[in-house]
Symmetry: C2
Subunit: 305 residues, 2 copies
C-alpha cells in the first residue's frame, strides 16, 4: 500500500513537472508571437494578453507538442501550430463569456475580459486572437505530406461554423431545454473535442506523420475530447468556484444540459473512464512513444479543476 | 456639350455593367464557398449568409480581380482571395454594428445582423465569417513568388490588431473626443485602407506579379482607401438614410471624428480628389492594363452611396 501510494505521488510529480516545463516554453513562444504590449493601440494588445496569459493549463498546445514527439518529430515545427490553437481557444473563451452568450464574470480566478476592458474591446480582443492564430500558424514549415494550405484548412475547419462555433451555437440554443444524450454528445464533439483533436492532428502533421499515425491521433483526440468535457461538467457540480477559478454550479443554474444532469454523477464518471480507455487503445500503435499522451489522458481524467 | 454628356453617360454605363458582371461571378463563388444554408446548425449559416448576401458593392473582391488582371493574371486564382477578403469585410461590419460598438440598426437598407438573429448569434456569425475567410484563402494555388504562408500572413496582418481591428478600437476611443487630422488619417488607414490595399495586393500576388507591380498596387490601394473613407464621411453628411441604406448623419450625432467635421465639406472633397489623382499616378506603369483600376478609382470618387 505504502509503495502504491508512493508510486502514485511519483507519477503525479512526473506529470506536474512535465506540464510545468511545457507550459513555460509555450508561454515564452506565445509571448514572442504576440505584439508587445505597448504596440499601438495599446488597449487591444493589453486585452489580448490579459486573457492569453491568465494561467491557463495550455492543454491543447501541450497535446500538440506531445503528438509531434509521439510521431518522432521535434517540437520546434509544432510550436507555431500549438500556439495558434491556444489563441483560438482563448478567443473562444472571451466570446463565450460575453453577456450576450454565457454572461460569465470570472474565468481562471480573474474577472473576465469584458469585465475589465468593456464589451466592445473584449469582442475585438477575441477577433484579434482568432486572426493572429492564422498568422502564427503560417510560420509553420511545411512537411512533405502536409502543405501550409492543409494546415490552415485543418485549423479553420475545427474552429469554424460546423465545429467549435457550432458547439457554442447549440449550447446557447439548448439552454433550459431538454436535450438527449446523443445531442449532448454532438455538442461536446463540436465544443470541445474538435479543437483538442485538431491540436493533436496538427502536432502529427508538423512531424510529417503517416496517414495511419494521423488516424490514431484523430481517434485519441476524439475520445479525450469527450472525456474532458464530461469531467468538466462533473467538476462544475462537485467543485467550488475557488478551486475551479470560474463560477461553479453554473450549468445547473442556467439549465444547461450536461452529462451529470442527464445521467447522474456516477454514470458520468464511468463514461469518462470508458472514453479514456478507448483513448489509450487508439494510441497503442505508438507503443513507448505514446507515453506522454497516455500520461496526459490519465491526468485529464483525474484532474480536480 | 451634348457629346461630353453622352460620353459621361457611356462611361457610367461601362462601369455599371462591368461591376454588375463582376458582382455576379463573385456572388456565385461566395455561394459555392459557404456551407449550404441547411447545414447544421442552420441558424449560424443563415446568419452568415444574411449579411454576406445583402447587396454589398463587392468593392474589395472587384478590386482584387482587377489587380490580378492588371498584372496579366487570370481571375481564377484570385477568386478565393477576393472572396476571403469579402468575408472579412462582412464580419467586420457585423461586429462593428453591435450594441457594444457602433450600435447600428440598419445596414444596406436592412436590419443589422444582431437585430435579426440576436447579439449572441451575430457575434458568432462574425467569428464564423472571419474563420472561413482563411479556409477559402487556403484554396489559392501558390505562385512561384507568393507561397500560401505569405498569403495567409498578408490577410491576417491586414485584418489584425495593428490594422483593421486597430481602426475599430481607435474609432471607439475617439468618439466624442477632439481628434487631429493626422490621427484621423491613421484611423482611416487602419479601418479602410488596410483591407482595400490587401485586396489589391492579393490580386497581384495571385498573378505572380513582380515586386515593382506589387509596390504600385500597394500605393494605389493606400490612396483609394483613404479617398474611399473621406467620401464615406462626406456622404454621411450629404445623403439620406434611404439612399445610403444605413443611418445617415450618424457620425455627427455620435460625435465621431470625420474629415468634414474637422476640415469642412469642400476641403474634404478636394482631399478626396487629390488622393484619387495620387492613386492614378501610382498605377501609371500598368498603362492600358490599369484601365479598370482607374475606372474603379473614378467610380469611388463620384459615387453617391
Amino acid at each position: 500500500m505504502e509503495t502504491a501510494k508512493k508510486n502514485k505521488t511519483k507519477a503525479k510529480c512526473a506529470v506536474d513537472s512535465y506540464l510545468e516545463g511545457r507550459t513555460n516554453i509555450i508561454n515564452s513562444a506565445l509571448n514572442r508571437y504576440l505584439p508587445p504590449v505597448n504596440t499601438k493601440p495599446t488597449i487591444i494588445h493589453k486585452a489580448m494578453r490579459y486573457s492569453l496569459f491568465s494561467g491557463g493549463k495550455r492543454l491543447r498546445p501541450v497535446l500538440c507538442l506531445a503528438a509531434a514527439e509521439a510521431c518522432g518529430g521535434s517540437i520546434n515545427n509544432a510550436m507555431p501550430l500549438a500556439c495558434a490553437v491556444e489563441c483560438i481557444h482563448t478567443y473562444s473563451l472571451i466570446h463565450d463569456d460575453l453577456p450576450a452568450m454565457d454572461n460569465d464574470d470570472f474565468r481562471r480566478g480573474r474577472p473576465t475580459n469584458h469585465k475589465v476592458f468593456g464589451e466592445g474591446i473584449a469582442i475585438l480582443a477575441g477577433d484579434a486572437l482568432l486572426t493572429i492564430a492564422f498568422e502564427i500558424a503560417s510560420k509553420y514549415k511545411p512537411t512533405s505530406r502536409y502543405p501550409t494550405a492543409m494546415i490552415i484548412k485543418e485549423i479553420a475547419s475545427a474552429a469554424g461554423s460546423k465545429k467549435l462555433i457550432a458547439g457554442q451555437v447549440c449550447d446557447i440554443q439548448a439552454e433550459g431545454k431538454k436535450v438527449s444524450a446523443s445531442h449532448l454528445q454532438y455538442i461536446h464533439e463540436c465544443k470541445t473535442a474538435a479543437l483538442l483533436q485538431c491540436a493533436l492532428r496538427l502536432g502529427g502533421m508538423s512531424a510529417n506523420c503517416t496517414p495511419k499515425q494521423l488516424k490514431s491521433l484523430t481517434s485519441f483526440g476524439y475520445y479525450i475530447g469527450l472525456a474532458f468535457q464530461v469531467i468538466d461538467d462533473i467538476l462544475d457540480v462537485t467543485q467550488t468556484t475557488e478551486v475551479l477559478g470560474k463560477t461553479a454550479g453554473k450549468d445547473e443554474k442556467s439549465g444547461k444540459a450536461t452529462y451529470p444532469s442527464i445521467l447522474g454523477l456516477e454514470k458520468s464518471y464511468k463514461i469518462a473512464e470508458r472514453l479514456t480507455t478507448s483513448a489509450f487503445e487508439s494510441i497503442e500503435p505508438f507503443k513507448n512513444k505514446g507515453h506522454f499522451l497516455r500520461l496526459l489522458a490519465k491526468y485529464l481524467l483525474k484532474r480536480s479543476k
